[in-house]
Each structure stands twice: as C-alpha cells, then as structure tokens.
C-alpha cells in the first residue's frame, strides 16, 4: 500500500510516502529502470515481487518479467539477460537462495552486475518462515557484494545505489541489498521518494556487457574452460579469481563514492561501510547490523544519559568486509559486544563476531569481546535486550570475557 502524500512544506521538495520495506525496494527498482526481472515468490520476499509485478502491469515500470518455475531458473535467466546487455533484478531469501546457489556462485565469477534483494530469513530447519540473517550469512563467501539496511528509507536509497555500484567498471560484480525479513519487509514508515530525473542522472547509461556478452556482432567464448595443471590453465584461472578479488576491494571505494554522490544529490547521508554512533569519547561499544540498529541506538542514548560511556558501530557493507574502516572505528575503545542475528556453527559465535576477530588481530592490541546472538527466526530485539548487551559489554572492562555466546532470546 503506498500513496503519494502532499509534500509537507518543511520537506526537501521530494514526495513523501508511507510504505513497507518490500514496497520501498520495488519502487527503487522501478526508479532504476531495469530491462528484465525474473522472480519466484517466497516468504517474506513475496510482497516485494508482487509489487514489482504490479508496477510492470500498471505500466509504471518498463521491464520484461519472467515468472520462472524456481530460483535456479530465475538467476540463470538473468545471467542470460545480463550477457545480452540488460540491466537485471531479482529478490529471494532463505530456501529460495539455497536453491539458487549454483548460478549464485557463478554470477560474480562471470562479473555480471545483477542486483538482488535478500529479504533475510533464518535458516531451516527448525522450520520457521521469519527473519534472521542466516541465509545471507551462509552465502557470504560466494563473491557477491552484500549491503545491509537499517531503515525503510535506507532500503529505497541503497537499492538504487546498488545498480550504480554493481555496474561500475572497476567493480562489475553482483550486489545483494539485504533487508530484514519481517521488521523491514513488512514494517511501514515514512519515506521520501527521489525524483526520477535525478535518479536517471545519478545512474547514467547502463553498459553491463562490455566485457562479456552473448552478442552475434561480438562473438566470444563466454565462461571458457580454465584451470587444471597444464598449459595456460593455472595462470588464466588465477587471473579470473584475482580480478574478482580486486573488484571486491575496488567496491569499498566505489560504494563510498556512490554514497557521497547520493548525499550530494538527494540530501540523505548514510555511512557507506561502517557507521560510528556516539563513538567520539566511548570507552566501549556494541556492534550491530541491519534493522536492529535503531533500537540499539535508542538504547545507547538511554545508557549515555545514565552516564555510561558507550557507543555503537554499525556495519552496512558486510561483503567486502570493511577491514580498514572497522579498524578505525574500533581504535579507541576498550571492550566490544557484537550482536548477530545468525550463528556461526563452526566457531560457536555470531558470524559478524567471527569476521570482527580478524580485524582485532590487525588492531595490534588485545580488545576484550563478547558475542551476542539474538533476533533469530523473527524474535524481537528490544531496548531491554540491548541494555543487557551494554551491561555485559561494560563488565568486560574489568572482568573475564565469556568463551560462549550470549543467547539474547533464550528466555523470551
């Protein structure tokens, strides 16, 4: 449900609407004018692709839509579209993402700049249909750029930016915009709509298959056989892989530039890689990802009023992992509590916690840390939970660090 509401006089001149995160993503995709989308519905992503289908049916979006028989076909069809020069989009989550994995891994290898929303959902089994970051975390080694959103406005703005980031010639990699199932997918808020002409200017002309194409006028071998131990196999495989890694590292700069240009054009500034909130004189901090961050910031404000020197670090870009930006953000603190909405089965902690341990090594000093796991399978993360995180993290300043994760919803 969305509607254009008369622009309030104090606003920046943009239209103000109320919409859910899933609809915000769909509206952003329409603004980005893709040539082709392919979809298969799955909870909690379904209303997103329904909105896309509706926008196309109403003529508000001029794209071909493929209603495929499953997610493996969705992404395979989009690979063909991208190779033929189309700007392409899809969305999925959870089991759909799992079913998509074979073409999912190949997409960054072919350097195809697709954009795909993951409306994040916890892993099954145990059976559940609700939010959590387990799906996106489970595929984080596959070479896609993964960017997490905090608010419905950030979903809208980031989804548009994702096309620019993916298609940048120094990147040429697919992008996942991750929006939290339930709290962002169905949560409705006031958002400002960017102007279409401004978005057109921001994104510029697409040129997505200059490097690899299905094009009779430019015949070439697409995804040729490489590797093995003979001839030029090893070196050509390394060239592809190393290029992919370079594209990921370039993405850190391109994501930052895209956010800066967005702020200049549209007046909304989001931290591109890592956000530091009330960190200037913080003694200790908590670390968050996605829609939990809003409640965590409100809790930090309350704790500050109570005299605790706490700050917050939010990761927005999770892949490529923003090592340098995070290192700087953590440079002044003496204890850190990391809150994850997923688990890392191998290390018995949260996945963001595990990634952060690598950054701590580069800090060159010991920083006491604790892993908190909460918000699994749609569970709520409230101010009460974050007060517990703040208290437990503060206790690390002069106490032992736990070697087990703290399960925040264990008694809810």
């Amino acid at each position: 449900m969305s509607t254009i509401i008369e622009t309030p006089p104090q606003a920046t001149g943009n239209k103000v609407i109320l919409c859910e995160g899933n609809e915000a993503a769909a509206l952003a995709v329409a603004l980005a004018r893709p040539d082709m989308v392919a979809v298969y519905p799955i909870t909690p992503q379904s209303s997103l692709v329904e909105h896309v289908a509706k926008l196309i049916a109403e003529g508000r979006m001029d794209a071909d839509i493929v209603d495929a028989e499953g997610e493996h076909s969705v992404l395979s069809a989009l690979q063909g579209g991208a190779l033929a020069g189309a700007r392409t989009y899809t969305a999925t989550c959870g089991p759909g993402l799992a079913f998509m994995f074979e073409p999912y891994f190949r997409t960054p290898g072919m350097r195809l700049p697709l954009v795909m929303t993951i409306v994040t959902r916890d892993g099954i089994t145990p059976q559940s249909v609700w939010g959590g970051h387990q799906d996106a975390m489970t595929v984080r080694e596959a070479g896609w750029i993964q960017i997490y959103c905090e608010s419905v406005q950030e979903v809208l703005d980031t989804t548009v930016m994702a096309f620019k980031i993916a298609e940048h010639h120094d990147v040429m990699l697919p992008v996942n915009v991750c929006l939290d199932g339930n709290y962002l997918s169905y949560g409705a808020s006031r958002v400002e709509m960017p102007d279409q002409a401004e978005v057109d200017e921001f994104l510029g002309d697409k040129n997505v298959n200059w490097h690899v194409a299905l094009d009779p006028l430019r015949p070439m071998a697409v995804d040729p056989l490489t590797g093995g131990s003979g001839g030029k196999g090893p070196s050509s495989f390394v060239r592809y892989r190393r290029g992919q890694c370079r594209g990921m590292q370039n993405a850190l700069r391109v994501i930052t530039e895209a956010h800066e240009e967005w702020a200049q054009r549209f007046g909304r500034r989001f931290a591109p890689l890592v956000e530091s909130y009330r960190m200037d004189d913080a003694e200790f901090a908590l670390m968050t990802l996605g829609s939990m961050t809003g409640a965590a910031k409100d809790t930090v404000d309350e704790a500050r009023e109570a005299g605790k020197k706490v700050g917050l670090v939010k990761i927005k870009t999770f892949s490529p992992f923003p090592v340098e930006a995070l290192k700087q953000a953590l440079s002044g603190i003496k204890a850190l509590g990391v809150v994850d909405r997923a688990v890392d089965f191998r290390w018995n902690c949260g996945p963001m916690y595990r990634e952060t341990l690598g950054v701590l090594y580069r800090l060159g000093r010991h920083l006491p840390t604790a892993s908190f796991i909460g918000g699994l399978a749609g569970a709520d993360l409230t101010l009460e939970h974050f007060h517990r995180v703040i208290d437990a993290t503060e206790a690390l300043l002069d106490g032992p660090a736990p070697d087990e994760p703290v399960w925040l919803n264990a008694n809810d």
Partner: protein, 190 residues
C-alpha cells in the same frame, strides 16, 4: 513517542488499520511506523499490529510492549489474549462492544475508554464484521491524536475502490460519530 497496539482477529483488518493510521499521521507531517506481528495469521485467529508516531524520526523497528493506547477491533479477542499487557498507567482503550462501560472489565491503568458497537454498525454497512475503519474513527474520536480528514484521505489512498471505498468512508464517519468516550475518575478506596 506515542504507541498504539491494535488487537483483532485475522480478517478484520488490524494490520491494514495500523498502516492507514500511519499514512494519516505521515500526511499530517508526523513520523510514523507500523509493524504487523508475525505468526501464522489466519482468519479468526488473534492478530496484533503496532503503530508508533512521533514528531521526530523513529529509529526503533520493534514490536510495542508498553503502549499508550490499545485499539481492540474485536469484541471477544480479550478472552483469548491479555490485551492490556504492558499498557502505560493513564492509558487509553478503544474497544468495540455492545456492552455499557460498567459491564466491561477495565483494569486500573486505563484512564480513558472509547466504546463503539462496531460489529453491529459493520454488519449494517458491509453485511459482515469488518471493523477496522470503524475503529479508526473511534480512535480519532477518543484520542484526538489524528484528524478525521487525514483518515478519510488515508482510506481514499488505500486499495479500496468503488462501493468498498464508499462503505469504508461511511464506516469511518459512523465510528467517529457513534463512539462514546468515558473518562474514568479513579478514587482511592479505603
């Protein structure tokens, strides 16, 4: 921050009511967030939705545990769930019922009660029990937090069409007009 929790049953439009209320508040220049509860919602089962409103940006995307106001769009759901859980002292109840105030259980934390026989009115308008737009009218009458005109516009801007739109606009007006508001004067009993 003003927080509302809407109780109902699947099919009565509790989730849509929260969204329409948010739309009306946004149109008035406020910040608003609506969030549905997550469960296996189905027709007839207890359903909850949440609404936050503020003059400033709202950052929390969470459920609501300590509402200022409860809107209950079903006459019997209170038998199945504790609709008053966490209500702030001095809070407001907007309830559909055909009973008078003294026949209802009203806990001490409630200071203002708006009563509307929405099931009867809805049967007259729609021929069935869909009470959400009626109870938005009842909410506007009871609290004054949102204007009737903003709610009218939110309904016009929703997915309702033709006869359904006209019926829902009538429901809103009648909900507003036919709600009785009681202010409960709490006395200390010795």
């Amino acid at each position: 921050m003003y927080e509302v929790r809407i109780h109902g049953r699947g099919g009565q439009g509790a989730v849509l009511a929260a969204e329409m209320l948010a739309m009306a508040l946004v149109a008035e220049g406020k910040y608003a967030v609506s969030i549905p509860s997550f469960g296996f919602e189905r027709r007839g089962a207890p359903v909850v939705s949440f609404l936050r409103a503020s003059d400033r940006e709202i950052r929390q995307m969470t459920n609501i545990y300590h509402p200022d106001c409860i809107i209950c769009v079903d006459p019997t759901v209170a038998n199945s769930v504790d609709i008053f859980a966490g209500l702030k002292p001095g809070g407001t109840l907007v309830q559909t019922t055909q009973k008078p105030l003294d026949a209802l259980f009203i806990p001490d934390v409630v200071a203002t009660v708006g009563l509307c026989d929405a099931v009867r009115i809805s049967n007259e308008i729609f021929g069935r029990s869909i009470t959400n737009t009626l109870m938005l009218g009842a909410f506007a009458r009871t609290t004054g937090v949102v204007s009737l005109e903003s709610l009218r516009q939110a309904i016009r801007d929703s997915e309702f069409r033709d006869a359904g739109l006209a019926q829902n606009l009538t429901a809103l007006e009648r909900g507003y007009a036919e709600t009785v508001v009681h202010t409960i004067d709490r006395r200390v009993t010795l």
